[in-house]
């Protein structure tokens, strides 16, 4: 799943359309639109409300280890030679108010230019204080999202809308035009990044049932279960089919998966765990 945070609906609209997202009415305070590949969250503008909205939404949405996060929005740019509509992928974020810096990793190849972003507490029009790209949400959203995503799964796309002095030219029509133009590129890049995130290998339901039976039959404590699962993983990696090994191991120790036979006590379970450990050793 790709989680896309935008400050305004106008910025989010092309992504809501592209990923066929539907409004999720269970969110009362934030506007959240959910699709199969992406979830779009409208955070509102300026740092504190944006961070609060994103934190609340992510707490409920509970992203997983294979999901990625993106903030997409407009920004100002101090370099007047940079055309409005230019799309940047942010490689560093300075929070102007605190002086703290944040660095997304950007591990994958892509075609977008990089730029440093400075997040101000309010819109700056005439003086960017030496910053290259400026916005009012980036640093806050980084801090709200970092609890849910690792640094390699966070992306900040900024589309130049103005150079400060010409900010008054940005009308709702201009915003829509800029976003409509950038959205296909951003979406394609995000889909590609999401496909690169390493997938965790998982047991099938049937395999999980066998492991679950083993844990129950041994009356495993949490620590015992951790060890047992690690042993199974070790066997799988070093020797081969761990589930087949388990099925051969069970009858030797009075266990019967089909009959759901359980040992009498955890003490017996510990002995069987010890036997299983020895059976896994090289």
């Amino acid at each position: 799943m790709i989680y896309i945070a935008c400050a305004m609906y106008m910025e989010a609209a092309p992504f809501i359309r592209r990923f066929a997202c539907k409004r999720d009415d269970s969110f009362h305070r934030e506007q959240v639109f959910v699709g199969e590949e992406a979830t779009v969250i409208i955070t509102g503008t300026s740092p504190v409300p944006a961070a609060v909205a994103l934190s609340e939404a992510l707490a409920l949405l509970a992203p997983g280890d294979e999901d990625i996060f993106a903030n997409v929005g407009l920004c100002g740019c101090s370099d007047v030679s940079v055309e409005p509509g230019t799309l940047y992928l942010v490689n560093s974020i300075l929070e102007h108010a605190t002086g703290r810096s944040f660095y997304p990793d950007l591990p994958y190849t892509h075609k977008h230019p990089h730029g440093g972003l400075t997040t101000f507490s309010a819109v700056v029009k005439d003086c960017f204080g030496g910053a290259f790209l400026v916005d009012t949400e980036g640093a806050a959203l980084y801090q709200a999202a970092i609890g849910h995503f690792t640094t390699d799964r966070m992306y900040f796309f900024k589309i130049v809308s103005d150079h400060g002095f010409d900010a008054n030219k940005i009308s709702p029509t201009v915003v829509s035009e800029l976003l409509d133009r950038a959205a296909p590129d951003v979406s394609d890049t995000l889909l590609r990044f999401a496909s690169y995130v390493p997938k965790k290998s998982r047991y099938t339901e049937d395999e999980e049932a066998v492991i679950d039976y083993f844990c129950r039959s041994l009356h495993c404590s949490v620590t015992m279960e951790h060890e047992l699962r690690r042993l199974i993983q070790y066997y799988e990696l070093e020797r081969g089919n761990a589930i087949a090994h388990l099925r051969e191991f069970f009858p030797l120790h009075g266990l019967d998966y089909e009959g759901d036979v359980l040992l009498r006590s955890r003490k017996e379970g510990k002995d069987v765990l010890e036997a299983f450990r020895n059976s896994c050793l090289c």
Partner: protein, 361 residues
Amino acid sequence: MFSKHSATPASAEAPLSPYRRPFSTVYVEQAAISYPRTQRILSNLPEHEMILCRDYREIFNRTRQNPVLQKNTQALILAVSDRARVYEGAPVCQDFGNDRFYYSSDVMNCVFDCEYCYLQGMYPSGNIVVFVNLEDTFAELDSILRGEGDSAPENPAYVCISYDTDLLALEPKLGYVADWINYAENHPGLTLELRTKSASIHALRELSVSDRVILAITLSPDPVIRAMEHRTPTLSARLKFAAEAIKLGWKVRLCFDPMIAVHDAAAVYNAMFDEVTAALPMDRIHDASVGLFRISREYLKEMRRNRPCAVTCYPYELSDGVYRYPAAVGDPLTKLAVDRLSEVMPRERIFLWDDATQHED
């Protein structure tokens, strides 16, 4: 400082690997920018994006990094260390008979990616930090060599310079080994150990041979290299490198450490020793070290979380805060190594790691 974050030009068509080239991003501490060594390193990295930062910890110590993934696309961080980078070897460290045993840590992290590497338990990041103020390390060593605060200053000092990294593998970019050799040549009483899995004969030929340096070459069986020493050279490449080093006049130490209890370990390690003894003039090997994989409890906990794999999931035995192989598994493997080496070199030149030591290069 962020004003300097000018845009990086868009790259051409994305190549096939999903990952950006290693060292395509270089973070540079503001304080490091004026160091000649920083400029030298940057000039060895022709296409890179430089990002200025205030403090390397802002990047290296970030919360919620993915060190395993970062190893595929390592960033370089150039920094100025605010403290001495020379440390006294812990009492449990193998000192090869040296009384004054130190290690220096001017580089944190490694270009190679061994699944058993303790650095994964020690650092929150897969990126590499290079401290550019090597002169401060040398100044610290100067005072150590002068014997300041030492009860036995007349004894020679022994310094491992490739401790939390593989310095030789980084030589084309950093040139630190050459700097160290230069320093050692002017400081009698100093012996350096350069531990490596690199097999770059080219990098070796660029260095002036020094009898003050022990080139410690780590050897592993190919099945172990293929399974868990990612991006490292094959056994035959390491043996060619070792043979060339001996020919050039380097003192070569062979390190069979860490030995890993893989499936059918006896056969796997016997095949390796056959290859080693056939490829190298064993009578010209300075010495050898043998050690089983062992790791502190804290590091293994972190490694299991970040990288569940055969070596981290193994059911080790815990004693004194260190995980080790059960004696029934480990002892025969150690014995095999010592027996095989004793056939071709004197026993007193074979050193055993059987303590709670840490570094396995």
